[in-house]
Amino acid sequence: MRLDRKNFLATTGAVAAGAAIGFPAIVGAAPEPIRLGTIPCLTGSNALLGQQEHEGAALAVEEINARPDKVYGGRPFEIVEEDATNDNQSAVSALNKLLGENVVAIVCPVLSTQVQAMAPVMKTHEIPWMTGGTAVKNTQLGVPGMFRLRGSDGITGAGMTNFAVKDKKGKKIAILHASDAFGVGGADQIVQSLKKLGMEPVANEQYPKDAKDFTAEILKIKQAAPDVVLMYIQNPSDTAIILKQVHSLALNVPIVGSPSLGNQTAMEVAGKDAYGTYCAVDFIVGFNSNVATHFLTSFFRKYHHLPDVGTGSGWVYDAVYMLADTYKKQKGTDPKQTIASLKGIKNWDGVLGTFSADAEGNMVHSVSIGQNQDGKLHLVKKVSG
């Protein structure tokens, strides 16, 4: 059985109640919980991302609160979670609600447009903002405490392009991408990387939201006769349908996808249609640190399925642990001090690799190229941005 959110709430609730009622009576003063805000998209069309964000945070908090010293000095984490849904206005409401709840740091939704919609409010609150949104712009919004725990679209787009051109010897590159901010932003980065190599895409197809038939797009790409097709798509269902049609319509060229193509969900849903495809990913099972191995094991034990590490649960898990380590080192949760400490992060080991903060707040500076071999992702090479 999966541990769902109700159980999770019940446990945290019980812990909190225990701390609030039982503990003081005996010991005198219970260590005050550290309130951590999260705003995943729990409902709407991006609910899958939100659910994974929730799972990653819940797992990290459960583990940290089980340590004898908890975060530090016996203080546990307490998650305060609000649904960002999938529209900007509700995301801002959720954020305002959280900001009234005495949280010391906030893990942002993964949708870049929501992060940008929230930015004006974020600017006025000097607390750490941990994001997994990959749009290059996210760390350039002038928000003081913004930190990105994943590779930006700039790094990923360049990594995909270089792999296609240099390793796969592609002379004619085609792009297929979604019309959301993620797909368009990624495709723009690919076009820019190609330009640096003195090239232009032979086809650059954007499909509309909720599309279910990709015959027109795939035939158009096929007519341009590319050597390599680059795909920038977040939605696993779209990915699966496209790969199926790519096979049906016999577009037989190497495919290099954005990180979501290497996600557990996308690989499961696309099945054998995804075999042989390449992707630029934050994370490949079996090629990472002990931290990663531990994360995978305990994630599976708790939820009985494998996580989408990069886009989904991994970066959130890292964010929570990074905050916990910082608070422990500081012996306090002062937001300004925490921001300063996070800016100084160097070679910190997390699930997604080794993190070092740059001036903008980017923590991840490399991606890996992986290949789906019979449903398992294998490391092809590492790329730095």
Binding site: R5, L9, L42, T43, G44, E81, E82, D83, T85, N86, D87, N88, Q89, S90, V92, S93, N96, K97, L99, G100, S112, T113, Q116, A117, A119, P120, A135, K137, L141, S179, D180, A181, G183, V184, G185, Q206, P208
Partner: protein, 337 residues
């Protein structure tokens, strides 16, 4: 704190939807405005104030839809598109041409009104479901243009750094300050709608809604009045879009979807379609409802859906009808005694 909106917002019902009125009406309006004006003095939470601001802005959109559907009987499922046109006009003028916010708001209103004219005119021949489809199509086309016309709209990535309005050195950059802009806009829009409803235009629109052929026979220029309704609906949504853009300072095309237009329609019908206070109440109630349900966590949108069904089933004349019934009961008792 939560009782404030309830108290104050039931006010318009008393004052605007009532045909009985009486001498106490100006007093009631004055009291209502005074209470509304003092709201930020009692409510300090940014969260609640941001909700109130957005609710007010949505109320303007829904009032516009009310003029079109409630007064004139013309269904539109493109209100979110007009909201988007207003927001992007304002955003583009302020960030690209460096216009101040106030004239941009006026321009946004004009732009949406003009598009309303351009859409309304060819749609005159359509009615009922055919009109619904044409407006859905217009909404979808508008959203695609916002996504794909990158040189102007910046595409899916959205447009940021939209400045807040200011008077001299006083910047409306907090929810509490912005509230006053929204309040003035809502009151002005409600006043205009009320004037329309109670004068010749409103009666003409009502006649068209009830029976267009008969209305034409009595010499009403139905074409002209229907276009007026389209233009007003566009102008209201354009103003609201602009207000939203300067409030959140960031806009992106995904906010102006068909689904959002559907939400506005639901707000109007749940509130009570032919009354101004109904439009305001519906917008406020349905914007606050999911927020109130937030403690239910992931199931809250499901409960919201069920609540919408329950509200149409159990409130035949919308919220306004419900309040009317309650009021008559409340006021009749002393008479009987």
């Amino acid at each position: 704190m939560t009782s404030n909106p309830n108290v104050t917002l039931s006010g318009p019902n008393v004052t605007l939807s009532s045909s009985k009125g009486g001498a106490s009406r100006p007093v009631a309006i004055a009291v209502l405005i005074a209470v509304l004006a003092l709201l930020p003095a009692f409510v300090h939470s940014d969260y609640l104030l941001s909700l109130v601001d957005t609710a007010g802005i949505y109320a303007i959109v829904v009032m516009g839809l009310g003029i079109l559907l409630g007064f004139a009987g013309q269904l539109s499922l493109a209100q979110a598109a007009f909201l988007g046109i207003g927001a992007y006009t304002s955003g583009w003028l302020t960030t690209n041409l460096g216009w101040p916010a106030w004239p941009s708001m006026g321009a946004a209103m004009m732009m949406s009104a003009l598009v309303g004219l351009a859409v309304g005119y060819p749609c005159l021949r359509l009615s009922g479901h055919y009109l619904a489809l044409a407006t859905i199509g217009f909404g979808i086309i508008t959203q695609l243009v916002l996504i794909n016309w990158k040189s102007v709209t910046n595409g899916s990535d959205g447009m940021g750094n939209i400045p807040p309005p200011q008077i001299g050195s006083f910047v409306f950059d907090s929810y509490g300050r912005y509230y006053y802009i929204v309040l003035v806009a809502v009151l002005a829009c409600a006043y205009v709608a009320w004037r329309i409803k109670t004068t010749r235009v409103g009666r003409a629109l009502e006649a068209i809604r009830e029976n267009e052929i008969a209305a034409r026979a009595t010499g009403i220029d139905a074409t002209r009045y229907k276009i007026i309704a389209f233009v007003l609906a566009g102008a209201y949504a354009g103003l609201a879009g602009s207000l939203l853009a300067h409030l959140t300072k960031f806009i992106s095309p995904d906010s102006y979807s068909f689904d959002q237009s559907v939400v506005f329609l639901v707000m109007l019908i749940v509130g009570g379609s032919a009354s101004i206070s109904g439009a305001i109440l519906g917008a406020v109630l349905l914007w606050f409802l999911p927020e109130v349900l937030r403690p239910l966590k992931t199931s809250y949108i499901m409960v919201y859906g069920a609540a919408v069904v329950a509200m149409v089933v159990f409130m035949p004349r919308g919220l306004v009808g419900l309040l009317d019934t309650l009021r008559t009961r409340f006021t009749r008792r002393p008479d009987a005694a």
